[in-house]
Symmetry: C2
Subunit: 222 residues, 2 copies
């Protein structure tokens, strides 16, 4: 119907309508390079500043993760959620470039799939700020530190599950090539399966241990 | 294209294709009555049996909730997840009747929307058995009791959020009438917003308190 306005785009499925689509300006290596350097900067800063505290190296590493993932949620995913027309962007806006490029691995981003927008919305609006709060909570040794980290990790895992299962149920045909499928769709999300799993298990154990200590204390008081 | 095979169904949007659709046999009052009576039976049994323990009334009430919600997740939602053709059911199978009726409030069930199936799948397969485990964990005073309840409640809240937000993003036009919209789509899910929120907050507080006790103990040991 609006085939001529569909716009030529590099995404799959080919019949996805993206009227007004403007191709990306930056190469994948530039986009990835900026992301890598910014991430390295954030992680380095948190590592250095947390070195002044008495925190263990594990705690400091986890603080780096929360700062990194929090900023990714707020800045990158936040941009996506509130920019439904990013694929029409006529300048080399870095955030638009990221999603124009990532859509080659999962065209549901450009196509504004409801499940993807929902998961990204929850992630950007709730989990992003909560992740930065987790950095603070660990630094200050707050009593809610573990339960907060557990909550965010579980949210990340639930979101990733919804992300993959909805794609599977819809035919899993949203990547422009196997390279993009494994490089972007699988590769870019892999950390958000592995690291939240490790942190969730760690928090679960810490919380169980605290309850055992509390239980022992109650027994002694008796 | 297959308009003639689309089947006459009572759902909205009217152009939803459900070839082979067979209308429900039971009235809404029968379906709700069976649900209400079964739920009352489950809650009563858990309440009576838990009375023999030294558990507080709050703990016993929460055990009733986990037994109820666990069985709903496993039996009702489990049936839906693994019965993609429930709307073709030619007998008065109670589980098919439930979803034929509920689809009047949200036709995405009959239409097999990917987000709905995903959320129901996670709920039925993971949260259902975990809810029954929570009954056991509370009864036995396990150290993982609160963190388990917190995890399931958060999963229920995340699922409900995905459920409503995806519908909103897709136009929120899946109910056959305002009565079904408020009665089924909003009303039937309301408990799964309120109760998991209360339980999650309660668990958060209990876990923070346990960490404070642990912190005090550590200080004393020093």
């Amino acid at each position: 119907m609006e085939g001529s306005e569909g716009g030529h785009h590099p995404y799959v499925p080919k019949d996805l309508k993206l009227p007004g689509f403007v191709p990306g300006f930056l190469s994948w290596s530039t986009i990835l390079g900026v992301f890598g350097l910014s991430s390295f900067l954030v992680v380095s800063l948190v590592w250095i500043f947390s070195g002044k505290s008495k925190k263990s190296k594990v705690d400091r590493l986890i603080m780096c993760w929360w700062a990194f993932t929090g900023l990714v949620h707020i800045m990158l995913e936040g941009y996506f959620v509130f920019s439904p027309e990013f694929y029409k962007e006529k300048t080399a806006n870095y955030f638009a470039e990221v999603w124009k490029e990532y859509s080659k691995g999962d065209s549901r981003y450009a196509g504004r799939d409801a499940a993807v927008v929902t998961v990204e919305g929850i992630t950007a609006v709730l989990e992003g700020p909560a992740s930065l709060l987790a950095v603070y909570a660990i630094a200050k040794g707050k009593s809610y530190s573990y339960i907060l980290q557990f909550a965010i990790s579980l949210g990340q895992l639930y979101g990733t599950a919804v992300y993959y299962i909805t794609s599977y149920l819809q035919g899993d045909n949203f990547a422009a090539s196997p390279l993009y499928y494994y490089g972007y769709y699988i590769g870019a999300n892999f950390s958000w399966i592995v690291i939240p799993s490790i942190i969730a298990i760690r928090c679960w154990r810490k919380i169980c241990a605290a309850h055992q200590v509390q239980g022992q204390k109650k027994t002694k008081i008796r």
